[in-house]
Symmetry: none
Subunit: 402 residues, 2 copies
C-alpha cells in the first residue's frame, strides 16, 4: 500500500469543490549576487503576496533533492505520478510536443534527417539543418509509407526534426537508437532490448529501408536516424485515481500532451494568458480540476534574462484575480522546477509553492518568494505529494483507516 494512487483510489470522496493548479514553468530562481533576491522576490506581486498571506507556502522538490527535471517528470510529479516510476521516453515527449494524440498502442520515435555518402556513411547528422519547408515536404512523402499490420504516422517538427509513430497492438518500446552520435559511420541497426520489441525493431528496419528509397534524391536529407524509441507509458488516468474531472488550459503543445497523457481534457486555451483565463471562466462549471500552464517564466529563465523573467512573473500576478474571482476551493501556484536566469537552464533547486483554501492553517507568510516558502507550513515536500494536499484541502479525501 505504499503507492499514492492505491491510497487515493480508496480514499476518494465525491465533492463539489474545485481546484486550480497554476503551474508557472521554471518558477524558482536564484539571486544574481550573494544575499540578493530571486526573480520571484524581485517581482512586484501584490496578488500572489495576498494569496500567500491567506494560505500556506512551502518548497516543492520535483524529483529528489538536487535533481533538475525535464518538463515531463516535472509535470508528472505535480500531477502526483512518481517521476521515477513513470518515465516518458524522448520519442513520446517529442510526439506530445507537436500535439500528436498518442494512443495506448503507439510507439513514438524522434527522427533526424541526415546526410549519407554513397557508401552509406553519415556525413552530416542534421542534414545541413535543412529549412523547415523542406523538412515538412519530406515528412509528407514519408507519411505515405505503408507497412502491413501497422499504422505509420510521420509528422514534421522543425528543420531536420520529425516524429514517427507506429501504431499496432503489442509493440514493445525497447529498441536502441540508430543515431551513432558521430559521422563517418553508417546508422546503427535498430536493436531490440527485449522480446516484446523484436517486431518494433523489424518495423523500424522496414521503415528505414523504405525511407532510404524515397529520400535517395533528396540530399542533403537523403536518410534519417531514429532516437528515443519509446512506447507511451501506461499511466492510470487522473479521474480514475483522484475522482476529479480534470481539464488542462495550456498554450504549448508539450504541456497539453502531458495533460492528455494523464487523461485530462485539453481545452482550447488560445495563445495568451488572457485567453487562458477566458477559457478557465468559460469552462468553470464543466470540470472540478484545472491545470493552468504558464510557459514564459521558464523560457525567460532559459534565456538567462533575469529582468524578463521578473516581468513575466508580474504578468502572471496580474492574472491572479481572474482565478480568485471564481472562488476556487483550492488554488495552488507552483512550478514544475526552477529555471534560474543565472543558470540559463532547469535546476534542482526546490520550487516556491503556495496553497490557499479555507482549511489552511496559515503560516505567517507575508509574501510569495523562496525565502518565505522555506519556513512555510507545507515544508520541503516532494512534488508527488502536492495532489494529496490539494485533494485534502478540497475535502476530497476520506480518513485513512478507522
Amino acid at each position: 500500500m505504499a503507492d499514492i494512487h492505491t491510497l487515493t483510489r480508496r480514499l476518494q470522496r465525491p465533492a463539489d469543490s474545485k481546484i486550480i493548479l497554476c503551474v508557472s514553468d521554471g518558477l524558482g530562481g536564484l539571486p544574481l549576487e550573494p544575499g540578493g533576491r530571486t526573480e520571484l522576490e524581485t517581482a512586484r506581486t501584490p496578488n500572489l503576496d495576498a494569496l500567500a498571506q491567506r494560505g500556506v507556502t512551502g518548497l516543492s522538490i520535483p524529483v529528489l533533492p538536487g535533481i533538475a527535471p525535464g518538463s515531463g517528470p516535472g509535470h508528472l510529479g505535480l500531477f502526483g505520478y512518481d517521476p521515477l516510476e513513470y518515465e516518458i521516453g524522448r520519442g513520446v515527449l517529442e510526439a506530445l510536443g507537436i500535439d500528436f494524440d498518442l494512443g495506448p498502442d503507439d510507439v513514438a520515435i524522434r527522427g533526424n534527417f541526415c546526410t549519407v555518402d554513397d557508401a552509406g556513411r553519415i556525413t552530416d547528422r542534421r542534414a545541413g539543418r535543412i529549412a523547415s519547408e523542406i523538412g515538412a515536404a519530406l515528412c509528407e512523402k514519408l507519411d505515405r509509407i505503408d507497412i502491413p499490420g501497422v499504422e505509420v504516422f510521420v509528422r514534421h517538427v522543425r528543420e531536420y526534426r520529425l516524429v514517427i509513430v507506429f501504431r499496432a497492438p503489442g509493440l514493445g518500446g525497447q529498441v536502441d537508437d540508430t543515431d551513432p552520435q558521430r559521422t563517418g559511420v553508417p546508422p546503427l541497426d535498430p536493436k531490440p532490448r527485449d522480446e516484446a520489441s523484436r517486431r518494433t525493431a523489424e518495423i523500424c528496419r522496414q521503415f528505414i529501408d523504405r525511407a532510404r528509397e524515397i529520400l535517395k534524391d533528396d540530399a542533403p536529407a537523403n536518410l534519417l536516424t531514429l532516437r528515443g524509441i519509446a512506447r507511451r507509458p501506461p499511466i492510470p488516468s487522473f479521474e480514475e485515481v483522484y475522482g476529479t474531472r480534470p481539464a488542462a488550459i495550456a498554450v504549448y503543445p508539450m504541456y497539453r500532451g502531458l495533460a492528455r497523457l494523464v487523461g485530462m481534457d485539453v481545452l482550447d486555451a488560445g495563445s495568451t494568458l488572457d485567453d487562458q483565463m477566458d477559457c478557465l471562466q468559460r469552462h468553470w462549471a464543466d470540470y472540478d480540476f484545472f491545470f493552468v500552464h504558464y510557459k514564459y517564466t521558464d523560457s525567460t529563465g532559459e534565456d538567462g534574462n533575469f529582468d524578463a523573467k521578473v516581468q513575466r512573473i508580474e504578468e502572471l500576478d496580474a492574472a491572479i484575480p481572474r482565478m480568485t474571482e471564481l472562488k476556487p476551493d483550492v488554488l495552488i501556484v507552483t512550478g514544475d522546477h526552477s529555471t534560474p536566469a543565472k543558470m540559463k537552464s532547469h535546476s534542482g533547486h526546490p520550487v516556491p509553492t503556495l496553497l490557499v483554501s479555507d482549511l489552511c492553517r496559515f503560516d505567517g507568510s507575508a509574501s510569495f518568494g523562496e525565502s518565505v516558502c522555506r519556513i512555510g507550513e507545507l515544508g520541503h515536500f516532494e512534488a508527488r505529494f502536492l495532489m494529496l494536499q490539494a485533494l485534502a484541502h478540497a475535502g476530497r479525501l476520506e480518513k485513512y483507516g478507522a
Copy 2:
C-alpha cells in the same frame, strides 16, 4: 534495508534510560480566523512551553502529507510501524475498542443486529437501534454458539453493535461483508477472497445459520450482518524491534488495544489523567518506555468545541510536572493526528511535536504551538521516524556502519 525495524533490531543498544511518549489525541488544530491562533496556541501552557524551551520541536506527518488517519494508523505511525504497511481491519479495531484480548489466531468481526422479514429480506439494518440492555442479552445468547474446531466469542459493544471473534489456527481474514448496505434484500453470502479464508467464510455461514435460529423470536433484532472481517495483523513486538520494555497508560479501550497489538503491557490506568500519572509513578521502575494516552483533545475537537479543546490542553499541561519530576531521559509530547475544532474531524494537518532530552540541539522554540513547531529542529517528519528520535535521544541506538 528500507525497513525501519530491520535497522532498529540491528542497532539496539541496552541502556537504563527511560522514555515517555505522551500522545494528546488529535492535538493539532486550526485557527478559527485567518491569522488567528490554534487551540494549542490559545491555551495557557507554561509547562509545555518550558519543555519546548528545553527541547526541540517539529511537525509530524502521520501518514503522508494531507492524509487524515484514523486512530489505528495514527498510533501505529507514532509507534514506528509504517501505517501504510500495517493495516488494522475494522473488526480488529472494534474488538480492541472493547478491550477484547485478541490472540494471533483470531479473526475479528464487527456485527450489526438487523431486522429481516419473513422472506429473509432486511427491513432495518440497525434493528430499530435496540436498547443496549437488549443487545447485551442477545449477545449472551449468541456467545453460547458452538462450532466444532473453533472458539467463538460474542461481545456486545452498544445498542445494535457487537463483536464476534473466531479463534482457530490458520483462519484467513479475507472475507467480504454480508451487510448489503441497503434494505429490501437479504444479507449477502460471506464470500472468501482467498484460499486461506474459505474456512473462515464457512464458519461465518454456520454462525449466521445458528444465529438465525437463536434470534428468530427476537425481532426487531432477528438476525445480524457481519462487517470488517479481519485477522489480527502480524506485527512484530515493540520489545523485539526496539529492545525496550514498554507499558501503556491509556484510559480508553481502543488505545489500550492498539498498545497491546504491538506487545505493550497495558497497565491499570484508572479513569482520570491524575490516575494515569499515579500509574506512571507507581510503575516507573518496571518499564523503560511509557505510552501515555490523553483522549480529550480529540473528543473536544470532534465536537467542534474550540474552547473546550483549549481547556483540555491546559489540563494536560497541568499534568506535565508529574512526568518531568520522574526525570525521563526522553519526554515526547505529540498527537496521533490533528482534530481541528473548526473541522469537527480528524484532518491531515501535521501535528505539533516536542522532544526533550539532554541530547537535544535546541532550536530556540519559545513555546509549544504549530507556528513554533513549523521551524523547529525536528522539521516536518513522518511520524514513523519519531521512535528513531526517541531511541537516539535516549542513547539506545548504536552507530550505523563503521
